[in-house]
Symmetry: C2
Subunit: 212 residues, 2 copies
């Protein structure tokens, strides 16, 4: 049996049901911890899943920020310092990572409250998460406001990328499965990924095959 929701049905749903449904139907997403520092030296750490690849050359990443949420400390810090770190959540730390979404005060560090260790790589001031295996440092480039619901996309340029050597294949593909990165779905679900396959470059008239 299928269930169909028209726009009016969706708008009429109880808030929590609608939030779970609409966040969930976007399927799997990455799960990332974003580390920042404000100009007074306070560290902040928050979990994000709305992260998109904007480009490879130059290397650009987009992060979506919702209005009036716990994410605002992160956004304020990026505006103040122009810097943020992006760290892959793996299955060993997914509960602590989820806990960073609690509403801590500006002077409470989620690193301490949720049990993570700060790691610094010169010359950057924003903290990385020592427990994470795949991590990037990003420099603020652009901010776009989507006026329809006041969300904002922050675009950053990758200035440093660090990852375990043994997850990197010869052609540059990093195995997020070997790195044990998790996928998230909706607001509260976490998953490990199991490879179906890497597929050959698609050309008209030729069936794609699994090469790895």
């Amino acid at each position: 049996m299928e269930k169909t929701f028209h726009l009016n049905d969706i708008l009429g749903l109880p808030d929590r049901f609608r939030r779970n449904l609409l966040n969930g139907i976007h399927g799997y997403k990455g799960a990332f911890l974003i580390g920042t520092k404000n100009i007074n030296g306070y560290s902040n750490l928050a979990i994000f899943s709305q992260v998109i690849h904007i480009g490879a050359n130059p290397p650009l990443v987009g992060v979506l920020f919702r209005p009036d949420s716990v994410e605002r400390h992160t956004l304020e810090n990026i505006r103040q310092t122009g810097e943020f770190s992006l760290n892959h959540v793996h299955s060993g730390i997914y509960k602590q990572a989820h806990q960073t979404s609690a509403r801590y005060e500006m002077n409470q560090s989620e690193f301490i409250e949720c049990g993570f260790k700060e790691e610094f790589i010169e010359p950057y001031k924003a903290p990385f998460v020592a427990e994470c295996k795949i991590k990037c440092m990003l420099q603020f480039v652009e901010e776009h406001l989507f006026s329809i619901n006041n969300t904002r996309l922050i675009i950053g340029k990758i200035s440093l990328l660090r990852l375990p050597e043994d997850i990197l294949s010869e052609d540059g593909f990093p195995s997020v499965e070997k790195a044990d990165s998790v996928a998230s779905c909706g607001l509260d679900s976490y998953f490990t990924g199991h490879k179906l396959g890497r597929l050959s470059y698609a050309k008209p008239g030729i069936e794609p095959h699994v090469f790895d």
Copy 2:
């Protein structure tokens, strides 16, 4: 052993290596087939993974388009008709779904070339993918140009959502694992997801627990 890439290292990488690396480090993403029709009635189907949740009320979805790619047919059709369908790729069709990224001509339908069946739901003109279990119809709302690399984000409003009743939990969360939706990573990798858990709403001082 860890490997570190600074910005200059990234910029100096061979194109293919850089593309694989930079696309891959965004971790897991959803995999979606977007169905459109142009004003002359030709159908188009293309695989996308850069899809983000913009909001639940109103229900808004963002799709990122790269410049000068095979995705351009989809973008042109959305501009012409204001309509597109978003269909979850599942493990039974992931190879055919990947095949839609081949460079077919405007008058070739990927539905026919890649072996999918068109499905129409009144009053919408854009085709759904009959083989997919989770599907949405979207109406064009906004287009944003990111001038730094000429990518574009198209924001659409969900006018219809259809999914199997038995994947929907009481609180509205749709189990993409039960629906067998796949995750993608980079340009060519596909994965199934295995649930670690749904975690309780995070509150300061209280450890999150798995409730499902």
